[in-house]
């Protein structure tokens, strides 16, 4: 009996996506960059997918660049702009490390993980080329005030582009309207029921490519298209948008039951971040006195899949930079767990977690 509660890491492939992909994994194997009939068939699939993605993201088809991942989209958005890069302290490493590479500026967040607009203001000047603030955070789910960020940047650094990493946000919020003012928007297929190995970047500004060669995606992203992946991503996007409202309602209720249940059952448990200001699938809790590493092993033993912190390259847990940026003390940051729900989560998953997590915490506290 397993409960998969790590949807923020990845999600199961939606049946619509799978069905859409099969032909492009089998008989329709063409390379869209070719000239003949086989190539044209693949090209058509990519362009139809592009139309769908554009509609779901509220942009023009020629503003959609297909990439290999959310990380690649983030890297392209930041490294593809000249000038100084600025980002919030809770960005994914795909943004943070790209910003650091060019010697950029990192802006503090408050205790709920929301970007400090005054601090952001202070970091803006005529040298800034890109400002990156994620639409929703992957660790604790906080939704950022992107509209306010866009306003601020237009006033204080008009030459700068605004990038938002919408990778975690897409399943849960209307990215089309919330990210309307942004110049660059990243998404990643496997976070919303699409396949791994494909993402997209909305590009409404000047950008230099990372990958050069064949000149695909209007020179912005060379490399043979992952046709099946792109087709799968489009199908998953469409299915996600169509059911998003209902999913947010249903899963939000499951998440509330889970979070409230844990807070009630585990003495001293603390919820991270403000429930009202986070995406519907995120449940992040701290259990002072235990270690996340040990907790995750016990949960895994019991069939509950969850995560914590950021797994470094070796797979060991480092304390989450997001929690640290929010002012959570280091030992508490190392005593936390992220349970992230998704479109396939059921009441049974929540029941299993509510039974397993308190037991595991109690076991660790008394050992």
């Amino acid at each position: 009996m397993t409960a998969y509660l790590d949807h923020a890491a990845t999600t199961p492939l939606r049946p619509e996506a799978f069905e859409a992909m099969v032909p492009y994994l089998t008989e329709r194997f063409g390379n869209p960059s070719g000239v003949h009939a086989v190539a044209r068939e693949a090209k058509r699939a990519v362009e139809e997918a592009r139309d769908v993605v554009a509609e779901c993201l509220g942009c023009e088809p020629n503003e959609v660049v297909f990439t290999g991942s959310g990380t690649e989209s983030d890297n392209l958005a930041v490294l593809g702009r000249s000038g100084v890069a600025v980002c919030s302290a809770v960005e994914h490493h795909a943004v943070l490390d790209a910003v650091a590479r060019g010697g950029g500026r990192v802006v503090a967040v408050d205790g709920s993980g929301t970007v400090d607009l005054d601090a952001l203001d202070a970091a803006l000047d005529g040298d800034v080329g890109v400002v990156s603030v994620m639409l929703a955070n992957n660790e604790v789910g906080t939704i950022q005030p992107l509209e306010a960020v866009v306003d601020l940047v237009r006033r204080q650094a008009p030459a700068a582009a605004v990038h938002t990493d919408a990778v975690q946000a897409f399943p849960w919020v209307d990215v089309e309207s919330l990210a309307r003012g942004a110049d660059l928007v990243s998404v990643s297929a496997h976070k919303f029921g699409g396949p791994k190995g494909v993402g997209a970047l909305v590009v409404r500004t000047e950008l230099r490519p990372l990958l050069v060669g064949g000149g695909q995606e209007r020179e912005l992203r060379s490399g043979t298209h992952n046709v099946a992946g792109i087709v799968g991503m489009a199908a998953a996007m469409q299915a996600t948008v169509a059911s998003r409202e209902e999913t947010v309602r249903r899963v939000g209720a499951l998440r509330d039951r889970l979070a409230d249940g844990l807070l009630a059952a585990v003495p001293g448990a603390v919820e991270t971040g403000d429930r009202a200001g986070k995406i519907a699938g995120n449940c992040h809790v701290r259990f002072p006195g235990i270690e996340s590493e040990a907790l995750l092993v016990l949960l895994d033993d019991a069939g509950v899949c969850a995560s914590a912190g950021s797994a470094c390259a070796s797979g060991a847990l480092d304390p989450s930079h997001v929690l640290v940026a929010m002012g959570v003390p280091r030992d508490e940051a190392l005593a936390s767990v992220r349970l992230s729900l998704g479109w396939t989560t059921t009441d049974e998953d929540v029941d299993i977690a509510l039974k397993t997590v308190p037991d595991a915490v109690s076991r660790l506290r008394t050992s």
């Binding site: 590493e293 040990a294 092993v297 033993d301 470094c312 797979g315 060991a316 480092d318 050992s367």
Partner: protein, 344 residues
């Protein structure tokens, strides 16, 4: 039995895990991430973790990675720098065993419900009378690692297994090859895991303590015969880097860090009757004064016959070279470790 095997990514721990699986135990592997800084190889680099993980996959056992970097910094790296700054010669691998591998790791294993832990060390634990345990040398004397395990007491020995201690190193490699383990031909890690061959100890310590130059003085005449760049880095018994060329072999016989003076003299000046120990541990009962022991003062050194005097004093039967303060002395009765201490 549920066993947690510490897998470094090397061939010894790989085979240790394999042997336990063959014996039918419920085995899980774990790699400790201890050092995040520059490292040549062997222990804890990402590729070593990958090797361990791959071996675990091949053995069809689960594998975890534990971040004990804080403990490692606090109990191993910090004291290492502090010891050198005071002119002592620490053995960080021993402190890692004492505080991390056979303390923190043991506690984590207990928390997770394991009955025992195992490592790839070349040593043996045997069951003795009355439920006691003995730590003994590994059968491959050239690879015996009982010296770095000499601090273990009954509390740890009851919970530890060393599966490859009954094998020679060539047999271990042969076993790994026979099993098709990825690490069969991987070279053994040498040296301290957090010191790179690039800069060595000097570069590492230079970043952490203020290395000061010193004078080299002849022990008998008092004349200054040379200089050293870093007096803290000179070890008793050292010959190199002290300004050679004088008649006869010249060894560091004393190091005065505060005064900035290294005293040198012939080998004869290094010889001593005894070594005094602090931080003593006993594998079982403390030794009575007057007990005969064999004292080993380095990882692969030959032991020297001695009599335990009590109060941490070891009197050698034949004069031995002085043991540098900070070095571990392991005490044996035959092939059995009876205790350990750190030279003052």
């Amino acid at each position: 039995m549920r066993v947690l095997v510490a897998m470094s990514g090397g061939v010894d721990s790989s085979v240790a895990a394999a042997l336990l699986v063959e014996e039918g135990h419920d085995v899980v592997g774990a790699t400790m991430k201890l050092w995040g800084g520059a490292s040549d190889t062997g222990c804890c680099s990402v590729s070593d973790v990958e090797d361990a993980r791959r071996v675990a996959q091949q053995l069809d056992i689960r594998h975890h990675v534990f971040n004990f970097g804080d403990d490692f910094t606090r109990h191993v790296v910090g004291p290492y720098a502090a010891a050198w700054s005071e002119g002592r010669t620490p053995n960080p691998c021993i402190e890692c065993n004492r505080h991390v591998k056979f303390d923190r790791f043991l506690r984590r294993a207990a928390q997770l419900g394991f009955d025992a832990v195992a490592t790839g060390h070349h040593a043996r634990v045997t069951a003795e009378r009355d439920g006691r345990h003995a730590l003994r040398r590994g059968v491959d004397r050239a690879k015996d690692q009982s010296y770095v395990l000499a601090m273990l007491t009954q509390r740890e020995l009851a919970k530890v297994r060393f599966p490859v201690g009954e094998m020679t190193k060539p047999d271990v490699r042969a076993k790994a090859e026979a099993l098709g383990l990825r690490t069969a031909a991987k070279p053994d890690s040498q040296d301290v895991c957090f010191i790179t061959s690039d800069g060595g100890r000097e570069a590492f310590l230079g970043e952490r303590i203020a290395l000061r130059p010193g004078r080299v003085v002849d022990g008998s005449t008092g004349a200054e015969v040379g200089r050293v760049d870093a007096v803290q880095l000179v070890t008793i018994g050292q010959r190199r880097g002290l300004g050679g060329g004088a008649a006869g072999r010249r060894y560091a016989t004393a190091v005065d860090v505060a005064g900035g003076v290294v005293t040198v003299g012939p080998e004869h000046d290094l010889l001593t009757d005894e070594v005094r120990l602090s931080d003593q541990t006993w594998a079982d009962a403390p030794l009575a004064s007057g007990t005969e022991v064999v004292a080993q003062v380095s990882a692969h050194g030959k032991g020297a016959s001695a009599i335990y005097q009590g109060d941490g004093i070891i009197r050698f039967v034949d004069r031995q070279r002085k043991v540098a303060p900070g070095q571990t002395v392991a005490l044996y009765d035959g092939d059995r470790v009876v205790g350990s201490g750190i030279a003052r």
